[in-house]
């Protein structure tokens, strides 16, 4: 799991790229309130498995718990595919954005996708 962050030293927006969101959650990547403009999910490495992107706008003590914290946003990305999810007018994050990819949308599911899921978030 490696996270690359492009802060707003050079641009008015910020970018976070996580090369394996299926192995652990990214906690509060926006460090508070923000506006998300796009999310790119690359699930091509999982040739047989759907990956479910769960997103949370919730600052739970100790961080969100993927099998206990109810999601605010959830998107299923088909096997062997990549999808751009754009928010043309912005998606308002109030508390802080946390993310995780798992094998299914069930609350108790903590199963890691078999292969890496690459997720890119553009926000400001």
């Amino acid at each position: 799991m490696a996270t690359t962050t492009l802060d707003n030293s050079y641009t008015t927006y910020k970018v976070v790229v996580e090369d394996d969101l299926g192995s652990a959650a990214l906690q509060n990547i926006t460090n508070g309130s923000a506006t998300v403009y796009s999310i790119f999910v690359d699930n091509t490495a999982n040739t047989n498995d759907v990956s479910v992107l769960k997103m949370y706008d919730n600052l739970v003590d100790g961080g969100i718990d993927v099998d206990a914290t109810e999601v605010d946003y959830q998107f299923s990305i088909n096997a062997a595919s990549r999808r751009l999810i754009s928010f043309p007018t912005g998606l308002t994050i109030t508390n802080g954005l946390s993310l995780r990819c798992v094998q299914s949308g069930a609350l108790a599911n903590t199963g890691d996708p078999s292969s890496n899921v690459i997720v890119t978030v553009v926000y400001g």
């Binding site: 109810e70 605010d72 946003y73 751009l84 998606l91 949308g105 609350l107």
Partner: protein, 130 residues
């Protein structure tokens, strides 16, 4: 209930579904087909000044959403919208539902899977798909 399902010539999405008073009652088979592709969503909570709402899309093999229940069935898709706000999203390649499944929708005031409470204010949902 004032649903609209139109066929349009736009190649990005040939189906438009609109529900102007969305609530926690499941609306079955919103695109009137199996394996729909969801391309765009507008969740309009601007007339509801008191509650955050959650659009939830479900899928199963029943066109009547048999055995699907708001509050217990795991949604395929969840989108939050704060009070007095509108959220719009666009997926150029679309989110495709499973080949033999139909898409169903509801709007509640609770995040995640649980919750069957309908918004007290007016919530409109527009879905563009194919």
């Amino acid at each position: 209930m004032s649903d609209i399902l139109k066929t349009v010539s736009n190649p990005l999405g040939t189906l438009i579904f609109k529900e102007t008073t969305a609530n926690a009652t499941l609306i079955a088979n919103v695109f009137s087909k199996t394996a729909p592709k969801l391309i765009s969503v507008k969740l309009d909570n601007s007339a509801n000044s008191t509650e955050t709402v959650y659009l939830k899309l479900y899928e199963n093999t029943s066109a009547t959403a048999a055995n699907a229940s708001v509050g217990t069935t795991v949604p395929t898709f969840i989108l939050r919208c704060p009070s007095s706000s509108i959220v719009e999203m666009y997926i150029p390649q679309g989110l495709t539902f499973t080949s033999s499944n139909y898409a169903h929708m509801a709007v509640t005031t609770t995040a995640g899977i649980a919750g069957t409470t309908a918004p007290t204010g007016t919530v409109a949902v527009t879905l563009i798909g194919s």
